[in-house]
Symmetry: C2
Subunit: 186 residues, 2 copies
DNA sequence: CCTACCGATCGGTAGG
DNA sequence: CCTACCGATCGGTAGG
């Protein structure tokens, strides 16, 4: 694990626990036994560190969606697979996903615009998937965008309350949300 | 509108836009044409100001739930009414609800514990409502708590993306979420 | 409700 | 990768 990776994962943990603005570079440095100014050998600024974390998160999410829907030709199966990919993302990258959903206001204007664009790109994937089912005559949803928001919001909760030692296993939740999502569209 | 109320609503707007930690008392004071130190004639501290906003939000939400379910004897109708009350809350008090869902880590330990207790109290109302339907034999949900999380998460999204001038009116959304919530339980 | 001011902390730089 | 240090800003107090 490179120093840059160490910094990034320490930052994710602290931003998750305290928020970006409440976290100092000194705290990040302390976690990996460095002095705060030494961070600047690896990062450009605190703001850029946040941007890298957030862009990485949304890019991975978009890739995972594409991989998921490529695994089947059936429209409902595609929907189930896409929902399950989102669930797994919010569970396995819980802290990063939480930071991503929570720190948009902390981004500088330019980076915020770009991030919002990439998040819209994720939502567009869902809208097009649902619309393809409508065109094919197997889905009757009259509001693909609203349904998309509902699916994303529903799964977003996981990054807040999911616990690895909680009462529901990852596989239980993947199955539950997969079923629930499909049921919203039949 | 009293000075205290002016301070509180200016604070809600700024905490919504920038977050608690990124907002200075000077900015709050500027919004209502005061100097920062003058705020201390009305508030105890910045932290206490946040606490008042958050406790007020959750207390109102709990009251609204109780009022909603008292309006019908039918279990599915109670569920529909409770969901619609939550939707209206997240729309009409959008900014306060957003702050409430976002600033839990910014609370001091003691206040955070108390707030989490009151949020759990809200979730308990849902769990008991669903369980009463299970006891009566009209609902088959095997996971009342998971379903409760799903309902809350689903509606929480509104405090993030709802726009008064957006493409869905409040009444359209109230109807949509009411239907969706009931459908999760039949 | 104001001005004047405090100690603390912050992100970041200089220089080695 | 470190020590030493900077200017800026913060929440909050004193005193009127």
């Amino acid at each position: 694990m490179s120093r840059s990776d160490e910094i990034q994962s320490a930052a994710i943990e602290l931003f998750y626990e305290q928020g970006y603005n409440a976290t100092s570079l000194k705290e990040i440095a302390d976690r990996i036994n460095l002095r705060a100014p030494s961070l600047y050998n690896h990062i450009e600024s605190k703001q850029k560190l946040l941007q890298d974390i957030m862009f990485d998160g949304i890019d991975v999410l978009n890739s995972e969606f594409d991989e998921a829907v490529a695994q089947s030709e059936d429209i409902f199966e595609k929907i189930r697979l896409a929902a399950q990919a989102l669930v797994r993302h919010n569970i396995r990258r819980k802290k990063q996903a939480y930071v991503n959903s929570t720190e948009i206001p902390s981004l500088e204007a330019g980076a915020r615009d770009e991030l919002v664009r990439r998040r819209r790109s994720y939502a567009d994937r869902w809208v097009k998937l649902i619309e393809s089912g409508v065109s094919a005559g197997v889905i009757v949803s009259s509001e693909p965008l609203l349904t998309t928001f509902n699916i994303i919001d529903l799964c977003a909760g996981l990054s807040r309350w999911y616990r690895p030692d909680g009462r529901w296993s990852e596989e239980r939740l993947v199955a539950h949300y997969g079923r629930l999502t499909v049921s919203m569209l039949v």
